[in-house]
């Protein structure tokens, strides 16, 4: 019962946390670029403004797909805080990712089409890595369940340092940060306009933004699993990791999807195999 309550609470709090993280992200990024930056609550203002706009779309499928995306992201967070099966949670998250791409593909818009293809490539890049992260967690704790990680007693980081870097790749891709912001850049000034997001506007865009916040909370939850033994340790790990993401975002340029696929698969796989071998030998 306690788990159910926690999970429900998490579903309510996740968008608030996710929005705040987005706000802090924008503030720090601005400072790194010698700008003043918007207020920390700006993402919420944006979303509320978007929600108030008249809906505009190309076809009804877009509405269907954004709602399914939001639903699956909420369910992902819910299952995570229920202490459920990591692989199952990931597959539930995939529902949202797939519907999000389907919505963009449904529009017959050249920018959205190209963006959707690139989004598919990003999925192709991070999905195997995240599965391998889960497999390595299962190898350490003997189970895919989140609750078992908390019951394990030692920080996973000790045994899975390389897997943490692999998760870092996935995190960067999922957060759409440079050098992997190839499907929908934060800064709408590139050749793709906003890629996979081009044809979403008003309330639909707001829903996508909220769903994205849920995703961010989930991915940061995964990062937190690597130091599940103490709350301060977890918070420090999260802050350090996220700050590292910001720095990487600001010091790198966007690379091509070919480069991303090849380099991330190579490095991600090499690191995963090394870490798994180490576990296997140990």
């Amino acid at each position: 019962m306690g788990k159910l309550l926690l999970a429900t609470l998490a579903v309510f709090l996740a968008p608030i946390v996710g929005g705040l993280i987005a706000g802090i992200d924008r503030k720090i990024t601005a400072r790194l670029q010698s700008r003043f930056g918007p207020p920390i609550l700006q993402p919420f203002y944006d979303v509320f403004k978007l929600l108030g706009k008249a809906p505009m779309m190309m076809n009804p499928w877009q509405i269907l797909t954004v709602w399914v995306y939001l639903l699956s992201s909420m369910l992902t967070v819910f299952l995570f805080f229920m202490g459920s099966d990591l692989l199952l949670i990931f597959f539930v998250m995939t529902i949202g990712a797939v519907f999000f791409v389907m919505g963009a593909l449904s529009t017959q818009s050249p920018y959205a089409q190209v963006g959707a293809q690139r989004e598919l490539i990003t999925m192709l890049t991070y999905e195997p890595l995240i599965i391998l992260v889960f497999v390595s967690i299962a190898m350490v704790t003997g189970s895919f369940k989140v609750s078992e990680v908390f019951a394990y007693g030692k920080p996973l980081l000790y045994q899975l340092p390389l897997m943490f870097i692999v998760l870092g790749y996935a995190l960067t891709i999922k957060l759409r940060k440079s050098p992997f912001d190839i499907s929908a850049c934060h800064h709408a000034h590139q050749e793709l306009v906003r890629g996979v997001l081009t044809e979403y506007s008003g309330p639909q865009l707001a829903i996508i933004e909220i769903a994205h916040w849920y995703d961010v909370v989930f991915i940061l939850g995964l990062v937190g699993l690597f130091w599940a033994t103490s709350a301060p340790g977890m918070i420090i790990l999260l802050v350090v990791t996220y700050f590292a993401e910001l720095v990487i975002d600001n010091v790198t340029a966007r690379m091509t999807w070919k480069w991303m696929l090849q380099s991330v698969w190579c490095w991600g796989l090499a690191l995963s195999v090394l870490n798994l071998l180490w576990l296997y030998a140990g």
């Binding site: 008249a54 809906p55 505009m56 779309m57 190309m58 076809n59 009804p60 499928w61 509405i63 269907l64 797909t65 709602w67 399914v68 639903l71 699956s72 369910l75 459920s84 099966d85 692989l87 199952l88 597959f91 539930v92 995939t94 529902i95 990712a97 797939v98 791409v101 389907m102 919505g103 593909l105 449904s106 529009t107 017959q108 818009s109 050249p110 920018y111 959205a112 089409q113 190209v114 293809q117 598919l120 490539i121 999925m123 192709l124 999905e127 195997p128 391998l132 497999v135 299962a138 190898m139 189970s143 895919f144 369940k145 306009v193 044809e199 796989l269 995963s272 798994l276 071998l277 296997y280």
Partner: protein
């Protein structure tokens, strides 16, 4: 028992003969639908009866063993004659001749026909019954669909005289052969039905009779014939070592303790399964089989032929459990899963995407058989069931779409909803049930990855993870294209013969409902099937959720939340008015009236085009097939080499 075995195995052959003789359309429809109903009912009744052993002795005074032997030789001689006269293919002829010689040696120089039978000729446990259900229900639906499909197919070919009687003869006989195959305990019987499926598939693939189809059918024939040769060698080997030629003998505990003497025939049989399931490097016969009319592809891919291969590998799993063969099979299956998923990404031909995805799923099943834990065997059976339903559905959808838009290219399916809305929705259901939770295929994938991880089988796990990412890519892309449409102003009605729509709707409903009732399916059939070969069950049901040491898969919570959420999303989408809809964003200068063009500086309307990434530089057939065939050939050679190393 007599009557049920008769209805599932012999009746389809009788119906096939009737279809050949009664050539008019009316009686054809009646026979096919009638057979379908009887088959489905008999398969359900068979399940109701429970496990059985059955030793039919004779029919009309002729010994059945003798009859099967006679038919076996007759069949091989027919193939030999076809190979020498029509095909003029020395390879097929040689492979057939080797089997004939081997069989003569086995039958007349090795076997003691007077001896008492060591075991019944037929038996059924839960695994056989699951197979009978898949064959009889999914297969029958495909035959019914063919009734609506074939007239349009023949119109297109402008035939002077219909070839449908012959077509339906092989189609329906195929079902009988498959049922015989999965119910056989005697390896001689199994071998006979095995060769019947090879022959039927050859005749069906070459049905249109043009040069390409004959060429592709011939390739299918010789590749499967190498499996047949391996099968005969396995029989001879087993006879030599004194093991009775019965599955039940191979499955006795401690069989593999005989070492290489046991493992070599097991490898031979698995090799036959691998050729039949079109695993790499034999994938080309199944992709080549796409030239056949769609019902043939659907039948080969979902409920027959390729499923016979994985059935045999899975059936033998307890016999090679814990041996090196098991581990290498897991590697081999995972390699097939990964590489054919990659090949599927590189395809824009919808049928080829389906074909490669079939091979990938079969690879996953073989990988699971190789992992050989109760959870992995559960995964294999789950995938067999759900893949059969969803893949049959997808093939029939593509066939229907192709007859309407005259293309099977994914790019041409943009805006399909405006032409055939009902089929589009059904196809979408097919894609979603192949790809996403909480549906069965995905559940099988979940079980497979978790059991590989539990075994700490690193290369297998890595290949499964990579392959899994690739599958998402090509299915998601296809689903998006199916949705691709401007605001639907006035969706047209979609007329369709009942024999086409019926199977489509039934299969779509089946794919969803079976997933919904999977806990009951598990308790009733899948768990008993796993328990018959392994001591423990793979999963326990806790409030209908699949639970084991490794993890948990929620069924009803997911169905409830996703179902309610999807309904809500659907409601929201229904509220959209035409007035809210606009054309795509084209950087400002949009042409009025044409959504698919922008206005250039010269004032002209310029169209644009966007298409999928197929990544052919990375995943194209030309790029990958060579290396894949080489690596998989080496894998097979290494498997055999290691086993032979044990003998010498």
């Amino acid at each position: 028992m007599d009557i049920l075995v008769f209805a599932t195995v012999v009746l389809p052959f009788l119906a096939a003969i009737a279809l050949l003789l009664l050539r008019d359309k009316g009686s054809r429809g009646l026979i096919v639908v009638g057979t379908a109903v009887v088959l489905a009912a008999a398969s359900l009744a068979l399940v109701g009866q429970g496990a059985f052993e059955y030793a039919p002795k004779s029919i009309l005074g002729i010994s059945l063993d003798g009859l099967i032997t006679l038919l076996d030789f007759a069949l091989l001689f027919v193939i030999l004659v076809i190979a020498m006269t029509k095909l003029k293919n020395p390879l097929v002829a040689a492979l057939t001749a080797i089997q004939i010689v081997g069989l003569i040696y086995l039958e007349f120089f090795m076997m003691d026909h007077g001896a008492a039978k060591a075991a019944p000729a037929m038996f059924a446990d839960s695994l056989s019954m699951i197979m009978v259900l898949v064959i009889s229900i999914v297969g029958s639906l495909i035959c019914v669909y063919a009734l609506g499909y074939m007239p349009a197919h023949e119109d297109h070919l402008h035939l002077a005289r219909t070839k449908q009687p012959r077509f339906f003869f092989y189609l329906v006989a195929f079902l009988g052969a498959m049922n015989g195959l999965v119910l056989a305990n005697s390896l001689m019987w199994l071998y006979f039905f095995w060769e019947v499926t090879t022959f039927c598939s050859f005749m069906l693939i070459s049905h249109d009779g043009d040069e390409t189809s004959v060429k592709n059918a011939t390739r299918a024939l010789w590749m499967n014939m190498t499996g047949g040769v391996a099968f005969v060698f396995a029989l001879i080997f087993l006879q030599k070592t004194g093991t009775g030629l019965y599955l039940s003998e191979l499955l006795k505990p401690g069989f593999s303790a005989a070492g290489a003497a046991a493992l070599i025939p097991l490898f031979m049989l698995c090799y036959a399964g691998i050729t039949k399931s079109a695993q790499v490097p034999f994938q080309s016969w199944l992709t080549g089989a796409m030239v056949a009319p769609t019902p043939v592809s659907a039948l080969l891919h979902s409920s027959t032929m390729v499923k016979a291969g994985v059935y045999l590998v899975l059936r033998l799993a307890p016999a090679y459990s814990g041996t090196m063969l098991s581990g290498t099979l897991a590697m081999f299956g995972a390699f097939t899963f990964l590489t054919t998923s990659a090949l599927a990404v590189g395809q824009s031909n919808a049928k080829k995407v389906l074909a490669y995805s079939t091979i990938a799923n079969l690879g996953l099943i073989i990988a699971c058989a190789g992992i050989n834990t109760p959870a992995a065997i559960t995964a294999a059976i789950v995938i067999i069931i759900f893949h059969a339903v969803s893949k049959a559905l997808m093939f029939l959808c593509v066939g229907t779409i192709e007859q309407k838009i005259h293309s099977r290219d994914l790019e041409n399916m943009r805006g399909l909803y405006m032409i055939m809305p009902k089929t589009t929705i059904v196809a979408l259901i097919g894609v979603v049930t192949m790809l996403l939770p909480p549906f069965g295929v995905l559940m099988g994938k979940w079980m497979a990855i978790e059991s590989a991880a539990a075994m700490k089988y690193m290369p297998v796990t890595v290949m499964l993870a990579l392959g899994s990412g690739l599958t998402v890519m090509f299915w998601a892309r296809w689903a998006g294209i199916l949705l691709s449409t401007p605001y639907p102003k006035g969706i047209p009605a979609e007329p369709q013969p009942g024999t086409v729509r019926g199977p489509l709707v039934l299969l779509a409903a089946g794919a969803v409902l079976l997933s919904l009732f999977v806990p009951f399916l598990y308790g009733g059939l899948i768990e008993p099937a796993v328990r018959s070969s392994h001591k423990a069950a793979g999963f326990v049901l806790d409030a209908f959720n699949f639970v084991n040491q490794q993890g948990v898969f929620y069924i009803y919570p997911l169905f409830l939340v996703l179902g309610v959420g999807f309904y809500f999303a659907w409601k929201q989408a229904r509220k959209v008015e035409a007035a809210d809809c606009v054309g795509p964003y084209l950087c400002g200068a949009q042409s009025t009236g044409d959504d698919k063009a922008f206005v250039s500086t010269a004032g002209a309307n310029v169209g644009y085009q966007a298409s999928n990434f197929y990544l052919t530089w990375l995943f194209g057939e030309e790029r990958l097939t060579g290396p894949i065939n080489m690596v998989s050939g080496v894998l097979l050679a290494v498997m055999l080499g290691l086993l032979l190393g044990g003998v010498i």
